[in-house]
């Protein structure tokens, strides 16, 4: 159909998502929105990684009736990025959780979520 290979699309989307995340993280002053930006960046990075592991026409590296052990070498996608991303997703959640906890604590201290209120230490 003249489309670029599928992983290209996902890669490009991932990159764009990272950019969108950057934009959100840099422009919004609301801490929670900043965290949203970070989670978008995270998702984008995961997409990029998964895309780089794709093999043209590949299928999941799970041996069952549909994929015999012998066919696996030629038909399956690269399992390593998948494994990495699973780990990275969990870590991403952890970081998000910590950031949100900080957001809550910050809110409790000053009853606001705007970063403008949190620039005490400087120089």
């Amino acid at each position: 159909m003249g489309f670029p290979p599928v992983s290209h699309l996902v890669l490009a989307t991932g990159c764009s998502l990272v950019l969108i995340g950057f934009y959100g993280m840099l422009t919004h002053r609301n801490i929670l929105r900043i965290i949203i930006g970070f989670s978008l960046i995270d998702t984008g990075i995961h997409m990029i990684l998964v895309a780089t592991g794709y093999i043209t026409g590949g299928t999941a590296p799970i041996i069952d009736e549909a994929l015999s052990l012998d066919a696996a070498a030629t038909r399956s996608v690269d399992p390593i990025p998948s494994a990495l991303v699973v780990t990275a997703i969990v870590i991403g959640l952890s970081v998000t959780a910590i950031m949100l906890a900080y957001a809550i604590r910050l809110y409790e201290t000053k009853q606001t979520l705007s970063l403008d209120a949190f620039t005490e230490s400087k120089w």
Binding site: T13, Y23, G24, L32, S39, D42, L93
Partner: protein, 87 residues
């Protein structure tokens, strides 16, 4: 067929990603971010990474979004901030 699917999903991802950044309402932005993850999970299935897809769906879009929800609830003083009518 696959590329068409992916194209659509990618559109979805981008659309919800942009929404997550642009929407005025915090709640809506957060939900859009969750949706982004959810779409990303579909794209992982399409890229033959079901394990990642499950993890992303359950953790990235699921739990993360809910934690967000609680965080928003805890930071807006119990009053729902989102607008109910026209944006």
């Amino acid at each position: 067929m696959l590329d068409l699917l992916i194209l659509l999903i990618c559109t979805g991802i981008l659309a919800s990603g942009v929404l997550a950044v642009c929407l005025k309402d915090l709640m809506a932005a957060m939900i859009s971010a969750g949706l982004t993850s959810l779409f990303a999970a579909v794209s992982y299935v399409l890229l033959a990474a079901p394990d990642v897809a499950m993890a992303e769906a359950a953790i990235g879009s699921g739990l993360a979004t809910f934690i967000f929800l609680y965080a928003i609830r805890r930071t807006s003083g119990g009053v729902s901030t989102m607008e109910t009518g026209e944006e």
